[in-house]
Symmetry: C2
Subunit: 481 residues, 2 copies
């Protein structure tokens, strides 16, 4: 621990008491490695404020001491966004003790949750008042509200409800100068200049620590219908989605799955069975849901799919006859990553392009990748209606994982990213930049865009104290030591 | 014209030809005064780029010459946001010639409009493909897309569709350094750091010139039902809205009107008739609309109002029996400002508070104002469901307008704003800050908040060239000359 860090730790104890600081290496260790086990950092202490006021006081103390801080919630970043730097210059600022649900108001359709509240806890609290928080993802048992806000998290319900950006009605945060931004009042209309709430959403903790958020609730789901369809192409799938959306506003999920990926799931995941008898090049998982238990969802979905079969848009389709079957359909979708992993090493890409462009992109990008890397297998699956797929390139059969990851995959990734940028897309649709995509962001952004990002960063955090090495590169002279 | 301005004008002519510059004072004059006639500025020339590339070249030239620019669209700002400074240091940068509708795509639900496209033109273009752009306001025949984006405009459809911020899927802009921000690709998911699109929405032209926007379209309205109800209080009105929203997602407008204001309309507006027989303390104008012509809107609205009468929540109600009657209901609402003006001088305030707080705020603020300014009449009307009303304080009968506006109204305004801030609200819900509310924003914001606004401003526009004197005060040393 540097003398400056020791000074900060002492000050943090004065501010929040003994529970507000962890310095035992064994207790720190689990928080130094990222969710996927790719990044390992070092930190001499974790600061654990219990309140926004304590967090603000600690940030002011860190600023006086010139010590960098890494905001951390559930540490479930997919891009190393919450892992401290390896050189030990930063301490972790954890929201783990800020677990208050300040309000859950069904009438107003709003909940105010502190940063450390876990997503599953918010789901339960909303359900408790007949509502739901309509964003969910795999890490719901660990991911925190502060992290979800700071990464503008997505998930499987984005089609209908949008990402966190859309669901966040207000933000409270401690800015790098130690002041508190109080944007929690959740005004539906507020035109007092630049929208600091929106700026903090997706800022990955580089502009301060999000300490609480006001979040939009929706009526609880009372009824759902889950269908599975086989189609000839992503283009047909998108046409189907447009037709469905023209007839109903209840479509919550519309996930596309290549036939080859479904075969991997059936092969590698115990108990998995294909919902349709024949072989299809592409599959769709479609969910309609409503807060009105009398909504005729099954009938609507059935009619729309029958019409699509009639029109030659869908080859075959089935609607889950029970909740158990609906769950089984979703398990197939949720097992894709695991099945892909079992099939061999792969390079994974979380990318988006304009929705209308995605069908062609999926076909052309896969063909180009497979041509450039003979023996590899490329395909995208996921949120077609959001223009966002997880695009995987699997190593040729028999290629050693080390060789693939060390020598080949980085080239495949550059090629995927180049094609995404050429299509007007984003190299990070859901997961953010963190440390994993920082070099690629620099490589693929215009100097003007990077200058704007750096300008905002240094306006808020001139000393470079917040989450150094993530999202935006600052000039070395700006960085804290 | 200063030598630097002459140099810029010559350069602009080289860039865009003779049509790209207006220097005849008679042609400039109409653009020097704001919509309400409160602010009058001076500018030696108007620059009129025809394309984004021309705009960028002109901005670079202005930067080289050190000349400030005032972005201007339809010049319909309610807060003097597009009027040049009085000292003549700025030229006007008008989007009038950037009128291209680059695309109107019904399938994608997106239109890309250049900054100078007038709102009514976009409405017509969307209707032409069976869609609509669901934001409208009084100035629709003059207001431009660039201005609507830059002010995060609201209007009467916000309840269902949100403000411009929600409808803007992408922004193209020329930043103060002359670079082009291309955020038009309208990705539904993009987590590559700070959201520059959102930052430019509502920035009032202080961070650059918005040159085009990608905008979300909704299905065209095929059927609507318009109702009028009398209620005892704003609290009952909000309860009614909540109940309606729990049963239908078709409610587009829910406007509250004090009985006293309706009486003024009936008194001052030729042909105006009250929709209900009796006298009611408060009135509601409720519109439900759908893109599905078979939606049973009248039946739904009737049933919900009948239930509310049964429950004692509504005293009396009627549903427009024809389009003509529906129009007549809306004319009553749209005549409120005119009728209020006819009744005497007033101080008007465009304010918001959290929706749940608004009913109490309307009652308590009106009582407090009338107590503090004996003989005055205070009341709010408008978008109750958005937590946004136009709160007017009318001068005591017989008070001279000069005395009211000069001596009394400023104190009433400060009192209204103080109460709004105490309630966690905003002193500008829809209209922005411009020059009119700049001092009040400074008075009522925390130093930390103002520092954040100034930090962003100087990160983008270190020379203070864009729309000087609006939205954010910069240190004199930053300002261009």
């Amino acid at each position: 621990m540097t003398p400056a860090q020791s000074q900060l730790v002492e000050e943090a104890q004065r501010i929040g008491g003994a529970r507000a600081v962890v310095t035992d290496p064994a207790d720190i260790e689990p928080w130094l490695t990222d969710w996927r086990g790719r990044y390992h950092g070092t930190a001499a202490a974790i600061l654990l404020p219990a309140t926004t006021a304590e967090a603000a006081a600690m940030v002011r103390a860190a600023r006086s001491a010139g010590v960098a801080l890494v905001p951390q919630g559930g540490n479930t970043s997919m891009v190393g966004g919450a892992t401290p730097p390896a050189d030990g210059r930063a301490l972790i600022l954890s929201t783990r003790r800020m677990r208050g649900l300040r309000s859950v108001d069904a009438a107003a359709g709003l909940a105010v949750a502190e940063a450390g509240v876990i997503l599953a806890e918010l789901h339960d609290a909303a359900n408790g008042v007949g509502m739901r928080f309509p964003l969910t993802l795999g890490a719901r048992g660990s991911a925190t509200i502060g992290g979800l806000v700071s990464t503008n998290a997505g998930g499987t319900q984005v089609l209908r409800f949008g990402t966190m950006r859309r669901l966040v009605a207000g933000v409270e945060a401690v800015l790098p100068d130690g002041s508190i931004h109080d944007g929690l009042s959740a005004l539906k209309k507020d035109n007092r200049g630049y929208d600091l709430n929106q700026l903090l959403v997706g800022a990955e903790g580089t502009l301060g620590l999000v300490t609480a958020a006001a979040l939009t609730l929706a009526p609880a789901v009372r009824i759902r219908a889950v269908g599975w369809a086989g189609v000839a192409s992503p283009a047909d799938a998108l046409t189907l989605l447009r037709r469905m959306e023209a007839h109903t506003s209840t479509i919550e999920s519309f996930e596309i799955i290549p036939g080859s990926s479904l075969r991997l799931v059936v092969e590698h995941i115990p108990g998995a069975r294909a919902p349709l008898a024949g072989d299809h090049p592409w599959h769709l998982l479609i969910e309609a849901a409503s807060g009105d238990p009398s909504a005729p969802l099954t009938e609507t979905l059935e009619a729309l799919l029958a019409e699509a079969i009639e029109a030659g848009l869908v080859a075959d389709a089935v609607i889950a006859a029970s909740e158990a079957q609906a769950e089984a359909f979703w398990r197939l979708r949720d097992s894709l990553s695991e099945a892909e992993r079992a099939a061999g090493p792969a390079a994974q890409h979380d990318i988006s392009v304009p929705v209308a462009v995605m069908p062609r992109f999926m076909i052309e990008a896969a063909a180009a990748l497979e041509a450039a890397f003979p023996g590899s297998h490329a395909s995208g699956f996921g949120h077609l209606g959001d223009g966002n797929v997880h695009f995987h390139v699997r190593a040729p059969a028999g290629m050693a994982a080390d060789h693939w990851y060390g020598e080949v995959a980085p080239h495949a990734t550059r090629m995927v990213h180049d094609m995404v940028v050429a299509a007007g897309g984003s190299i990070s649709a859901e997961h953010g930049i963190g440390q994993m995509k920082l070099d690629e962001l620099e490589r693929l952004s215009s100097p003007a865009h990077l200058a704007a990002l750096r300008g905002i960063k240094s306006a808020f955090d001139p000393m470079g104290l917040f989450n150094p090495g993530k999202l935006v590169k600052v000039a070395p002279s700006d960085a804290a030591t």
